[in-house]
């Protein structure tokens, strides 16, 4: 079980002041993990213009604040995403796009796609829909900003405190040594 849940951690004091400034300049990592990424270019470019919220794409994980999981994650991608997430510097936030990272979505019975992203890494915000429209994405971003300001978006702290729990879940999927389904004799 989780040691601490999101409700028990909250930013206070000095963090609150920093958060006020942090929410105004979020750099999202330019990494397209799934099909939801096809709605990101319209969000970034002239029509919806993400930059008016102080957000922009960033090429390297070490300088990014925001990791977007754009849709389903195959196990092979999950490994890369975890590497990427651990490379990012704190404070960092994760937004999951679409229904696939919540419960598997349309791929609930696929052998290659994970069902719940929240088991492997902390998710600060989920945007539902398949795929989320640019309006929904922008709405999600503003919600995240509000959560940051209130000190509620503390997924990275949760990851730090429950590190062993997350690692165990990740190892269960990524570093198997035996078959999952038993052969019937």
């Amino acid at each position: 079980m989780l040691l601490t849940s999101t409700n028990e951690i909250k930013d206070n004091g000095m963090e609150r002041i920093l958060n006020f400034f942090r929410k105004k300049s979020l750099w999202m990592l330019h990494y397209c993990t799934g099909c939801g990424a096809v709605e990101l270019p319209p969000t970034m470019t002239s029509r919806w213009d993400m930059e008016r919220f102080g957000m922009g794409p960033m090429a390297t994980p070490r300088q990014a604040d925001l990791l977007l999981i754009t849709g389903y994650l195959s196990v092979k991608s999950l490994k890369r995403v975890i590497y990427t997430y651990e490379q990012m510097q704190e404070p960092k936030w994760v937004i999951a796009f679409g229904s696939c990272p919540i419960n598997g979505g349309i791929y609930y019975d696929s052998y290659s796609v994970i069902n719940r992203l929240a088991l492997y890494m902390p998710v600060d915000l989920s945007i539902e829909g398949c795929m989320p429209r640019p309006e929904a994405i922008i709405d999600g971003f503003t919600k995240l900003m509000k959560a940051i300001e209130k000190g509620e978006a503390v997924g990275y702290k949760k990851y730090r405190e429950n590190y062993e729990w997350y690692k165990a879940n990740q190892r269960n999927v990524l570093e198997r040594t035996s078959a999952v389904l038993k052969e019937e004799a």
Partner: protein
């Protein structure tokens, strides 16, 4: 060449093969397992330049794998499905990577998803799947839903994460 002429030529050279016409642009040839390299190189010689895809079908009731080599000719505008059946346990067949280089990747793909061995093709590193320990996933007796529930878990609303 017209489709009729091509079929006649195939019949001439490979009397054992069965031909089934689908429509005027597509037909299939069913060949013996040992003939497959010969028939494919013959097809390449008469102008089927492109190997579009190699795929396999798992006929579990017959205990057979069917391999489908999909060829296309830019000169005759014809699509040919060259098919052959091999045994389901210990499936093995000659590789055709000497005829088309793209066959290497398709055979690697089929090997990964069906577990069919291709003799002559050595590079069989896993391409798509990560750390796969179970039986090849595209086989009919592999239960994808059960696998997914077992390893990735089912959704429980009460559980807080």
């Amino acid at each position: 060449m017209e489709q009729r002429e091509i079929i006649l030529k195939i019949k001439e050279n490979f009397s054992k093969s069965e031909v089934k016409v689908f429509d005027e642009k597509q037909f299939s040839v069913f060949a013996d397992k040992d003939d497959i390299v010969r028939i494919l190189s013959f097809m390449q010689m008469i102008g089927f330049q492109q190997l579009a895809i190699i795929s396999a079908v798992d006929w579990i009731d017959e205990k057979k794998f069917e391999l489908v080599y999909n060829l296309f000719s830019y000169t005759h505008i014809q699509q040919v499905l060259v098919k052959t059946k091999i045994e389901r346990d210990n499936p093995k067949i000659q590789s055709v990577m000497n005829l088309w280089e793209v066959a290497q990747m398709y055979e690697r793909d089929v090997h990964e998803f069906f577990g069919i061995e291709f003799s002559g093709n050595d590079d069989m590193r896993p391409l798509i799947l990560h750390n796969w320990k179970d039986k090849p996933p595209m086989r009919k007796d592999f239960d994808s839903l059960k696998y997914s529930n077992e390893i990735y878990g089912t959704f429980k609303k009460s559980e807080e994460v």
